[in-house]
């Protein structure tokens, strides 16, 4: 008996066929946990994601390092090498982890652990603006205390994740759907407003230790909605 193991004498252990069945189930769960933890985001096989600005920057940086080891000469070559390896890996992963997908679905044992894997050097701030007269005025800006229209919703961590996904990837559809939703809400909240405009301010983070960013902020993904048509 191990010291401090807290084994007590009044417990009821599984007997007969139940003991090996339980042992088999625990082994199954351990295997499921390990195999399902292997990275398998749908984005790994999405070419558009690989071609995003942030990922292209990463390939260029890693290629510079890899070229010293004679692995790849530049970013595109490094990316191609990585793409081929990743697609082969995904096909193997699909085979080994596939049998556990049903268990994952019904028992809720999802194992996606990609967190902050690639911090953005060019994040985007979301701007939402209204036009009542001649010009547009901001009503919401990411992290602004002054412009916080529906801040409780738009600043909630679950909605922020959406904005982060939009900023990192090429999922235009999400941005369009957000715009349509925001226009409908603005039409209700501001009966006198004429148009809603949403856009992303792409800001380059200054290099560590530098006072200013190398690139000036850029407006992207500008969309304008007619609020009169929604009333």
């Amino acid at each position: 008996m191990h010291l401090g193991s807290d084994l007590t004498g009044d417990g009821q252990r599984p007997v007969g066929w139940r003991a090996p069945l339980l042992a088999a189930f625990v082994a199954f769960h351990v295997l499921a946990m390990l195999l399902l933890a292997l990275p398998a985001s749908g984005r790994l096989g999405d070419r558009a994601v690989w071609e995003s600005r942030e990922n292209q920057l990463q390939f260029a940086r890693w290629a510079k390092l890899a070229s010293k080891l004679g692995v790849a000469r530049d970013g595109p070559e490094f990316e191609q090498l990585l793409w081929r390896l990743t697609q082969r890996y995904l096909s193997v992963r699909e085979v080994v982890a596939g049998p556990f997908e049903l268990y994952q679905e019904y028992a809720g044992v999802q194992q996606g652990w990609r967190m902050f894997s690639n911090p953005q050097s060019h994040p985007a701030y979301v701007h939402v603006e209204l036009r009542r007269g001649a010009s547009f005025e901001p009503i919401y800006v990411s992290r602004s205390r002054q412009y916080d229209w529906r801040g409780a919703q738009l600043d909630h961590h679950r909605v922020r994740k959406l904005f982060g996904r939009i900023a990192r990837s090429t999922e235009q559809e999400l941005w369009e759907q957000f715009g349509a939703w925001a226009a409908q809400r603005a039409a209700q909240d501001f009966p006198d407003a004429l148009e809603l405009r949403i856009w992303q301010e792409r800001r380059a983070t200054p290099a560590p230790g530098s006072p200013e960013a190398a690139d000036a902020p850029l407006p992207e993904q500008v969309r304008v909605y007619d609020l009169k048509a929604l009333r």
Partner: protein, 335 residues
């Protein structure tokens, strides 16, 4: 092979008091409750989990098997799952109704979070995994209304299977190791100057406050990045820590080195410090709270009770006895 299978079976059949699992049940239930209620208070239930056809933000499809069975992400279905989740988590918090409130909470919470992957995070996975293993465990045996009703006491001495706690420890190790290995940006590495946290704190997706985040010195961020990355990847060594603790009586220099100090504590201290930094500087939902809740599983019921009730644990008493008898071993409680 047969001997290995029998050793595996013997390990799975180990039993212990339910104190650790019960405490974990209380923490997880409270976090699920907090997550659901705070989302409702912020008005994001309809935004994130109701389909655009009914006023939600996104087109969500039919949802997982449960949501699909109930009719898709329409308001009555979503709010019904919300109500089941809140009710189930409330019952699980106080330990009333056995294991089934945990299962109901799991399915409701999973149904909701599966609707919109863009609004879900790693903490949702940690919660559903916890609910599943708690459902399979005897976590209601103590610190529960059920224990009070059946045995007349809130703290039962009844033993339960230990394997769910062991799997929760393994899950923690897998989570940290996997996330560490997937941090592939150059900024996490020495070649990138350990600048990853600097860039995270300039991303509006995560910041609580720009002023607060940008006031942290760059040196602190570099150290934080290095500690985070290396600590996560080295978390797999915890497997060795627990193995050598469980087999402390066998010889070996490596075993003796691992058992010289309780290495769970410095590991947990570093983890807690990192999560405290996360809680202060960035908003990633209840991720830090859930992760820290998992830490209770690192400790045996004996050790938890010693902390709760202030009495020496059985392991400490055994060490004292060996010291008195002239032994040079250190106090170790097996996991």
């Amino acid at each position: 092979m047969r001997a290995a299978w029998q050793r595996w079976q013997a390990w799975v059949l180990r039993r212990e008091r339910a104190t650790t699992l019960a405490l974990f049940r209380v923490l997880v239930s409270a976090i699920v409750l907090g997550s659901l209620l705070s989302a409702a208070a912020a008005g994001v239930i309809d935004v994130t989990w109701v389909d655009a056809a009914y006023g939600g933000m996104l087109s969500l499809g039919s949802g997982n098997w449960l949501v699909s069975l109930l009719g898709g992400p329409a308001p009555p279905v979503v709010w019904g799952l919300f109500a089941v989740g809140v009710a189930g988590a409330s019952l699980s918090l106080i330990g009333l109704g056995g294991r089934w409130p945990l299962f109901a909470t799991l399915q409701a919470y999973r149904g909701l979070t599966s609707l919109n992957p863009t609004a879900s995070g790693g903490f949702d996975n940690l919660l559903t995994i916890a609910l599943w293993l708690l459902f399979l465990s005897g976590c209601n045996a103590t610190l529960s209304v059920d224990a009070r009703r059946k045995e007349g006491t809130w703290f039962s001495q009844r033993s339960v299977a230990a394997w769910p706690r062991y799997l929760l420890i393994l899950q923690l190790i897998v989570m940290y190791t996997a996330t560490g290995l997937q941090k592939v940006s150059l900024s996490w590495t020495p070649m990138g100057g350990y600048t990853a946290l600097y860039y995270v704190l300039h991303d509006p997706t995560w910041l609580r406050s720009e002023q607060l985040a940008w006031s942290v010195p760059l040196t602190v961020l570099r150290v934080g990045t290095a500690v985070t990355w290396h600590w996560e990847q080295l978390t797999c060594l915890l497997l060795g820590v627990f193995y050598f603790r469980a087999t402390w009586e066998r010889p070996g220099r490596l075993r003796a080195a691992f058992n010289r100090w309780d290495l769970r504590l410095p590991w947990a201290l570093i983890g807690a410090s990192l999560h405290l930094g996360i809680l202060i500087l960035i908003d990633v939902g209840p991720f830090s709270l859930v992760s820290l809740a998992y830490y209770v599983n690192l400790f045996t019921p004996d050790e938890i009770e010693a902390q709760l009730f202030g009495r020496p644990s059985a392991a400490w008493r055994a060490w004292r006895k060996r010291r008195t008898a002239g032994s040079r071993s250190r106090p170790i409680a097996t996991s």
